[in-house]
């Protein structure tokens, strides 16, 4: 390019409409705050569970929580709902972003109009939200999955990944770090041979699992870092002749996986409690909307039963390390 | 009212039927007695097919009643008519291209075997038996798609016979058949008559009517004109009843001096359709192209206009060679083409009159592709007056017009382009008597203005009355050229049947 706008000549997006206001750690949580809860899609069991936590928090805080959202988890489908929340002059938005970038412009506009934005589970562009409530650090999630697959396979052989959509922000971040972990000499016995995508669709994941096993006769293990994927994969494994020969682990909910850890298809899997995630995100939203915090690193806020949390780098709050579920402890969890 | 001796099998009484503004039937009465073959006669558009469709339960009459065996019957659809024992061979074959011939014959009545399954073997055997009766060799298992018109007609006939119906209605069954098949068909009709069935027979060939039928009914403009026994009647007498006036008045072709050759066709061939067709048409001339249905006349016209491709041969317009295979090129060279099927090919019936008239002149009416103002309306108004098109509004859909007026719209569409060569294919098919004369006057006028006209027509009197020269096609070849002075009905008919050259 000679005179046009190219990647080299352009300035990247302007920085966020900064939080100039100072935090007042002693500010009371306002009553009757209007909060919108916006999951990736309305018919997703994981988010339905998280919504329970959000509801509990809202009740405790005396806020008005409204759940809404699109029926499909495509990149742009949430934007309408973000705009609507802004239009309805909601005080805060609790959001799990389908696409970090696609929601950014409308989030910025909404914040410009005074709405506070908390992302949870899946972040939006850092300059488009105030706080991100992370279920666990990317590093923790990746590490625990690598640890589980090493346990299950004895640390030797070919493994593959069954992920959600090719564009899923979370999964891609975890997979990147898992690759780094696997490259370490300690894990040199494991060889990642393939990554396939089940699109967070039960049927597709099911069939992709089959395909993986056929394509790689020497496969020893599969990691599925998505609740939909691992459940579908476990169901396939449990009835196929590969049961017990191919290990499966990843991120799953106890309710979906209970049968499979008990029948030995899966040795262990991990997850955080989505109810707590929704609960924490709602508390963060209320704290922001009440001026207790601004999202700056080092600020602290109280999150009801969960205790006190500190905002870390880039406005991130971490719920805590993921829980590993095995047949011994899985019955203690209901979500 | 002349009633047959026995109580009629079927009696249509005072039947009227309109399609929008077109009164297709007005107070028509028709009685069919067991054991008789009854001719239904009338000009194109007289209402014969409409009457038949009323009898078949396709149309519900607006007024009048239908009695079967003296009992009033109400048909809510063709199935009811079938159940009452009425079998119909429609004018246009209506076959299922994807189904086998046998299934076409036995649609909905396939022979069954255990478990209510269709017995294909029996069905094929029955079909073959029927065809043998008719003297046809057709494979009952082959799909109906791709059958020639004549074969399609034979399948329709077989279908009607397979019923053992008490009333068999045949709407121009012989139009596409050769003499041999017609003979077979007649033998079958005789058999049906002996079994006590009534046969209603439509044909424009009066000799067939006289050899087959005992009684006849004549319709004119949708009205009942005459019913009676055929004994003592003459063909001329019947024609007078159908037409209502002397024939000569109908065809006012003015004599003109033929000018330069405007359309020159040489050695045109489309494999399997027509072969080695060569002829010229001069300015001021009307050349008639005659032949039996299926002889390939329309196909020649389509090829000249560029709708179909050709395998060999050339066409020149006004001395300049024409690029074949492109209607746009043909139009640019000055050819206009009024196709035979006006509803499918000539018109966009859902669109308004003005849109249709302007459809072939869009280039001329538009300015850089844009249509401003009322150019289309003005063009249509102009030609509606010139051709006295009767339409409620020029914005009304063409489908609301009567057949004759629809035909005039097609003519207007092409005449408004001022073509130097005009090809008309069956220009008066399905239009009423008065309009027909008007169309003839128009064609004649055009010729006198120096247009070269090629007229394809299946109506012999029309060809004989209008054409300066008659070309006759038989099975895809041009077999004879007859000057106006020498053209007689007999000579053209013989040539069309492939028996020309007996005398010159």
């Amino acid at each position: 390019g000679c005179s046009g706008t190219s990647k080299d000549s352009a300035q990247t997006n302007a920085p966020a409409a900064g939080n100039s206001a100072a935090a007042n750690p002693n500010a009371e949580i306002k009553k009757g705050l209007k909060i919108t809860y916006l999951p990736k899609a309305v018919n997703n069991a994981y988010f339905t569970t998280a919504q329970k936590g959000a509801d509990q928090a809202a009740t405790a805080l005396g806020s008005e929580l409204k759940a809404t959202g699109p029926s499909d988890a495509s990149a742009s489908s949430q934007v309408t709902y973000i705009n609507t929340a802004a239009q309805q002059k909601q005080d805060a938005l609790v959001l799990s972003a389908n696409d970090a970038n696609a929601v950014a412009p409308s989030l910025k506009t909404a914040r410009g109009q005074g709405m506070k934005v908390v992302t949870f589970d899946s972040d939006a562009a850092a300059d488009a939200r105030d706080v991100f409530v992370n279920q666990a650090t990317t590093q923790e999630i990746a590490t625990i999955q690598v640890k589980m697959i090493v346990d299950a396979t004895g640390g030797k052989g070919e493994i593959a990944i069954l992920s959600a959509t090719p564009n899923a922000t979370n999964q891609n971040a975890w997979i990147e770090i898992m690759k780094t972990e696997l490259a370490k000499p300690a894990n040199s016995g494991l060889k990642l041979v393939d990554t396939v995508y089940g699109n967070d669709d039960d049927q597709t994941s099911f069939q992709k699992m089959q395909g993986l096993l056929q394509a790689h006769p020497d496969l020893k293990g599969v990691v599925s870092p998505t609740t939909v994927g691992i459940a579908a994969a476990a169901r396939y494994l449990s009835t196929s002749e590969y049961k017990g020969k191919v290990a499966l682990t990843g991120l799953g909910t106890p309710n979906l996986m209970r049968d499979y850890v008990k029948d030995g298809t899966v040795k262990s899997f991990a997850l955080w409690d989505p109810t707590k995630l929704g609960y924490l995100a709602t508390y963060a939203a209320a704290a922001l909307a009440s001026g207790q915090i601004t999202g700056a690193s080092g600020e602290k806020f109280k999150a009801g039963d969960l205790g006190e949390y500190t905002i870390g780098e880039k406005g991130e709050v971490v719920l805590g390390p993921p829980t590993e579920f095995t047949k011994d402890n899985v019955d203690q969890f209901q979500f | 009212m002349d009633l047959p001796p026995d109580p009629p099998l079927v009696l249509l009484e005072g039947v009227s039927k309109s399609f929008g503004a077109v009164r297709a039937l007005t107070d028509v009465t028709l009685a069919l007695a067991p054991g008789e073959a009854h001719a239904l006669l009338g000009e194109n558009g007289a209402g014969k097919s409409t009457l038949i469709k009323t009898l078949a339960g396709v149309h519900r009459p607006d007024a009048g009643r239908l009695l079967v065996d003296g009992e009033e019957a109400r048909f809510s659809g063709p199935a009811d008519a079938k159940a009452a024992g009425i079998a119909v061979i429609y004018q246009e074959p209506a076959l299922f291209g994807d189904l086998s011939i046998a299934e076409n014959v036995y649609t909905g009545r396939q022979p069954l075997r255990s478990g209510r399954r269709i017995d294909t073997r029996a069905m094929h055997a029955d079909t073959t038996a029927l065809f043998t009766r008719l003297g046809v060799v057709l494979d009952p298992a082959r799909p109906a798609r791709g059958l020639s018109i004549a074969d399609q007609q034979m399948v329709e006939i077989a279908k009607a016979l397979s019923f053992d119906a008490r009333v068999v209605v045949m709407d121009e069954p012989t139009a596409a058949l050769s003499a041999r098949e017609v003979e077979r068909l007649f033998a079958v009709v005789e058999l049906l008559r002996e079994q006590g069935a009534a046969v209603l027979f439509v044909s424009h060939r009066l000799d067939e009517v006289f050899s087959l039928c005992q009684r006849a009914t004549v319709l004119r403009d949708g009205k009942h004109v005459w019913s009676g026994p055929l004994t003592g009647e003459t063909p001329d007498g019947l024609v007078r009843r159908m037409v209502g006036r002397e024939l000569s008045a109908l065809f006012p072709k003015q004599d003109t001096e033929a000018g330069d050759v405007l359309l020159s066709v040489s050695r045109l061939t489309r494999e399997g359709v027509f072969t080695d067709v060569s002829f010229d048409v001069r300015a001021g001339e009307i050349v008639g192209l005659s032949g039996l249905v299926g002889a390939g006349r329309s196909e020649v016209a389509r090829a000249i206009f560029g709708i179909d491709g050709v395998d060999a041969g050339e066409v020149a317009v006004g001395g300049k060679p024409l690029r074949l295979g492109s209607p746009t090129a043909a139009m640019a060279a000055g050819i206009g083409f009024v196709p035979e099927d006006r509803r499918q090919q000539g018109l966009v019936v859902d669109a308004s009159v003005e849109r249709n008239v302007a459809l072939a002149s869009l280039g001329r009416l538009s300015w850089f592709g844009l249509l401003f103002g009322r150019g289309e309306r003005r063009l249509a108004e102009d030609w509606a007056i010139k051709l006295s098109i009767k339409a409620g509004r020029l914005g009304a859909a063409v489908s609301t017009l009567s057949g004759g007026n629809q035909q005039k719209v097609v003519l207007a569409k092409w005449l408004s382009r001022r073509p130097s060569v005009l090809i008309v294919d069956e220009p008066t098919r399905g239009i009423d008597v008065g309009t027909k004369a008007e169309v003839h006057r128009l064609l004649s006028e055009l010729a006198s203005e120096g247009v070269a006209v090629l007229m394809i027509s299946s109506e012999l009197p029309e060809v004989l009355g209008m054409a300066d020269r008659v070309l006759v096609m038989h099975e895809g070849r041009l077999v004879e050229e007859i000057a106006r002075a020498d053209a007689t009905e007999e000579r053209v008919a013989l040539a069309a049947a492939g028996r020309s050259g007996a005398e010159s």
Partner: protein
């Protein structure tokens, strides 16, 4: 048939009445939020791409064909845009390239339909998968989001001093062009003629195949343009952009009174259809009506759009004792 025509004319009137109704009721139910400038801006953004694609698709459907691959072309153009931007191309060079690419996608559809005589429904179900697949091949799981803000702002800010989004302004300008093309040009007359009677059109010297080919090419190019708008609006080039949008566009076109069999329809009706679907969605979401109701309402509107004209036509034809075919 005339009744049918009048019925359709009336359907367009009915659409406008429905639109007004939605606006009035929406305004009341949402406490004035609906007709607020900010909300209208969002509404405009939301319908932008659908409207852009609906313009050429109207012509395609009027000509008796259909193109289901539009959303995939949108996705492919978005993916290519991202890839070219990553490769260091300038936006000024990327935009025409992407539009040409869309036109080529349309050309492929058009050639398969006109040269091989394949049904467009089947062809474009195939290219729906093909083009989306190519988008994935081009950009994979990546997302390109660092487009310069002086371009992305066209998708995120209104025209200064108004609440009008830029895509809507673009769409309005193009709509005038398309309306003139369809309703006041010889090309448009050909399109209608082809849709009502293809054979008749051919016998009138209309180059049926060429017209259809052109329509598919145009649709591809417009879908690519919609892809550019989409990419700037979300500042995000991704292979899965616009998944499933084809149904929304087809629904809007049909709701606008265009006959799926071709030959009937108007661009005004389609724009009203786009507005009605978008407006209704907007009102319902503002009014906190659930997603499921939204989906049902969309479907019911479609059913009404075909049943209403057909039923009125039938009632008339029975009163004149006539059977429709």
């Amino acid at each position: 048939m005339a009744e049918r025509l009048r019925g359709f004319a009336r359907w367009e009137t009915a659409l406008v009445v429905l639109l007004v109704l939605v606006a009035v009721v929406g305004q009341a139910r949402t406490g004035g939020d609906f007709l607020d400038g900010g909300n209208l801006f969002y509404l405009g953004l939301d319908i932008g791409e659908v409207a852009l694609i609906a313009l050429p698709l109207t012509l395609v459907v009027v000509a008796g064909e259909i193109d289901l691959s539009v959303a995939s072309v949108l996705g492919l153009s978005s993916a290519v845009m991202g890839e070219l931007w990553n490769a260091g191309w300038t936006i000024e060079a990327i935009m025409p390239t992407v539009i040409v690419l869309g036109a080529v996608c349309g050309l492929v559809n058009g050639l398969l339909v006109t040269r091989l005589g394949l049904p467009s429904l089947a062809v474009t179900i195939g290219t729906l998968a093909l083009y989306r697949g190519l988008a994935l091949v081009v950009l994979g799981d990546g997302a390109v989001a660092d487009f310069p803000s002086n371009f992305t702002q066209f998708g995120t800010t209104p025209v200064p001093g108004t609440w009008l989004p830029y895509p809507i302004v673009l769409c309005a300008v193009l709509a005038v062009g398309f309306a003139i093309t369809l309703h006041a040009s010889s090309f448009g007359r050909s399109v209608f003629a082809i849709g009502s009677n293809e054979e008749g059109a051919r016998f009138s010297g209309i180059r049926v195949k060429r017209v259809k080919l052109l329509l598919f090419v145009l649709t591809g190019a417009m879908a690519a343009l919609a892809g550019i708008v989409y990419t700037f609006r979300f500042s995000s080039a991704r292979a899965d952009n616009g998944v499933g949008l084809e149904l929304a566009v087809v629904a809007a076109v049909l709701l606008g009174g265009v006959s799926i069999f071709g030959g009937r329809g108007s661009l005004g009706g389609v724009l009203a259809g786009v507005l009605l679907l978008g407006g209704l969605r907007n009102v319902l979401i503002l009014d906190d009506v659930s997603t499921e109701v939204l989906t049902v309402v969309t479907g019911l509107l479609l059913l009404v759009s075909v049943l209403a004209p057909s039923l009125t036509a039938r009632i008339r034809s029975t009163s004149t004792g006539r059977r429709s075919p």
